[in-house]
Each structure stands twice: as structure tokens, then as C-alpha cells.
């Protein structure tokens, strides 16, 4: 079976995010008021082939932890959908 994986990688909550802070400071300057808590992360998508969803999840989670995200500084959320 094939599964579509979507991985959301975000800087960990307790770590300051200078990119998000800079974007947040820029928003009011161009007329957008009331926006706070901006944080910038990334989204990685890929396809996993495995016998079942559990196996696919194990592979994708392991790849996320080992390479796609760095758990020292990033949290990740994984979504899997059958293709």
C-alpha cells in the first residue's frame, strides 16, 4: 500500500523563533493589526510504501526523527493518508 505523508516541522515552543518575530513585526507596518504568535516552520511531503498503515507510520516517524526533523530544536507532526 502507498500512503501520502505530510510532515509539519516547527521550532520547539520554548525556543525563540527570530524568523517568526521578524514577520510579526512587519505585519502591522503593512496594515495587518491583531496578529501575534507568528512562528515559521516547514512542511515536507512524501510517499511511503509499506504493507499497512502501522508499518508506514513507523517508517515515516523514524525518518522524521532521524533526518527530516532535528528533535533538539524542532517538533514534528506526521499525517498519513492512504493513496
Amino acid at each position: 500500500m502507498k500512503f501520502a505523508a505530510h510532515l509539519n516541522v516547527m521550532p520547539r515552543a520554548e525556543i525563540s523563533d527570530p524568523q517568526g518575530q521578524t514577520v510579526e513585526r512587519t505585519l502591522p507596518a503593512i496594515g495587518f493589526e491583531g496578529i501575534t504568535g507568528v512562528r515559521v516552520g516547514k512542511r515536507i511531503t512524501f510517499t511511503v510504501e509499506a504493507p499497512d498503515e502501522n508499518a508506514a507510520r513507523t517508517i515515516a516517524a523514524s525518518a522524521s526523527e532521524k533526518l527530516l526533523a532535528n528533535p533538539v530544536i524542532e517538533d514534528f507532526e506526521l499525517e498519513l493518508n492512504p493513496l
Binding site: 527570530p18 533526518l67 532535528n70 533538539v72 530544536i73
Partner: protein, 235 residues
């Protein structure tokens, strides 16, 4: 003994020539090691140079950490032989788990390229044992976008307790003023050691401060210390 320094070359390394030039300038033999190389026989020191290994795609050092050469570097380090990662090399060592923590985007979101001052925090390592005193202030250039050292509180306490911080950013008097921290590194960390003290990662470039023709010479202290440390004791 004339030591042989192995300079690893990843696709995208760009300080490999500088490292080669500087170690030769100081009297060592050097050898380039392509990232697919796994044979480190005859090598006395490994240098992971600066640059943008694998384009710094995904995260700095992320893909380079899994290069074929890195398995050999891991064994080399486990055998107690010295490894120095400079700038991108420091990022690779962190991603490879040979050093704790990670290097993040500079706090000011600016690429910083300038000489900085760093304070020698410990003499207990081959990189700092020869010809330096504790608290000595060195002037060494930096050139990086992702040099903000981050580690959790627990790791930082461990680094402090085990005296594994090798260098910290400081001002001319050796004070840790906020202005002297060029990238927002926690505890002003510019370089750290592994628990066995034979692996050093540092963001500043000692190899760019060896030949007086291109700047200062304080980098010699670090590289020379390392080369002296390899000499057999006189009896």
C-alpha cells in the same frame, strides 16, 4: 613526528583549501578525503571544514552527517583521535550526534562575517593545552548565517559542570557583554568539546587566522596546540 591532517571534502565544502593551506603552513602533511572515503589509515587528525555541505539543504549539516566518511570519522573519534569541526563542520558534528545541541539561524537573521573575540575557557583538550592561558582572548573570524548555539538547560549545565565549553564570545577585555555575542548563542558558546575532549566543534575559523597576509594569527594557537598534542613525550 610530522602529523598527517585529513581534510574532509563534502560536496559544497568551501574552506577545505584554507584548512589544507593552514595546516601545511604550520608544518603538517595534509590529505583531502572525499566524503565517500572510508579509509582513514595514516590520518592523525580529522578536519571537518566550513562551507555548505550538501547545499545546507533541509538543515545545516543534516545530510552530511550521514555521509559514508562520517561512519569512519565516528570510529576515528571513538578511538580517541582528534577531530575538529569548523563552522559547517561544527554543524555536521552536532547533526551527527558527536556533539550535543544544534546551530540555529543567527538571532539577528544576518549573515555575520567579521573578526570576533573569543575567550579560552579550558586548557583541558588537545586544541587548547599548548600555548594558551585560561581566559586568554583570541581574535578569530566568523562567517556564518546559522551559528546560534542552542542546547537545552540540562545539556548546558552538563557542559559547564564538565568544563566542556572550549570558547565563548566576549569583548576585548574578555567580558561576556551582550554586544559581544554575534549570533545569540546560549551562554555565548563559540565552541564545545565532547565528553572525551578529543572532538571540538567551533563556529569561528582558526584556519583563516594563521597566515598574517590574510588577517591575524591567533588561529595558530589552536592549530599548533593540536599538532603539538600529537608529538610523543620526550624521555
Amino acid at each position: 613526528m610530522r602529523p598527517t591532517v585529513g581534510v574532509v571534502v563534502f560536496p559544497g565544502s568551501n574552506c577545505d583549501r584554507d584548512a589544507d593551506y593552514s595546516f601545511e603552513y604550520l608544518g603538517a602533511d595534509t590529505k583531502f578525503l572525499w566524503h565517500l572515503e572510508t579509509d582513514l589509515d595514516g590520518i592523525d587528525v580529522i578536519v571537518l571544514p566550513g562551507g555548505f555541505a550538501y547545499g545546507d539543504y533541509l538543515r545545516t549539516g543534516a545530510m552530511a552527517a550521514y555521509s559514508p566518511v562520517m561512519d569512519s570519522v565516528r570510529r576515528f573519534a571513538a578511538a580517541g583521535k582528534p577531530v575538529i569541526g569548523i563552522c559547517n563542520g561544527f554543524q555536521v558534528l552536532c547533526e551527527a550526534g558527536l556533539l550535543p545541541g544544534a546551530l540555529r539561524r543567527n538571532s539577528g537573521l544576518r549573515f555575520r562575517c567579521m573578526p570576533v573575540r573569543i575567550r579560552v575557557e579550558t586548557l583541558e583538550s588537545p586544541f587548547t593545552s599548548g600555548g594558551m592561558w585560561p581566559g586568554q582572548v583570541l581574535t578569530i573570524p566568523i562567517a556564518h548565517f546559522d551559528g546560534s548555539y542552542y542546547a537545552g538547560d540540562e545539556t548546558l549545565e552538563e557542559l559547564l559542570a564538565e568544563r566542556r565549553i572550549a570558547f565563548r564570545y566576549c569583548d576585548a577585555e574578555g567580558e561576556l557583554t551582550p554586544e559581544s555575542n554575534p549570533n545569540g548563542s546560549r551562554l555565548h558558546i563559540a565552541g564545545i568539546l565532547n565528553p572525551e575532549r578529543n572532538v571540538l566543534g567551533m563556529m569561528p575559523h582558526p584556519e583563516r587566522a594563521v597566515d598574517p597576509a590574510v588577517g591575524g594569527t591567533d588561529g595558530r594557537l589552536i592549530l599548533n596546540s593540536l599538532l603539538y598534542s600529537l608529538q610523543p613525550a620526550e624521555t
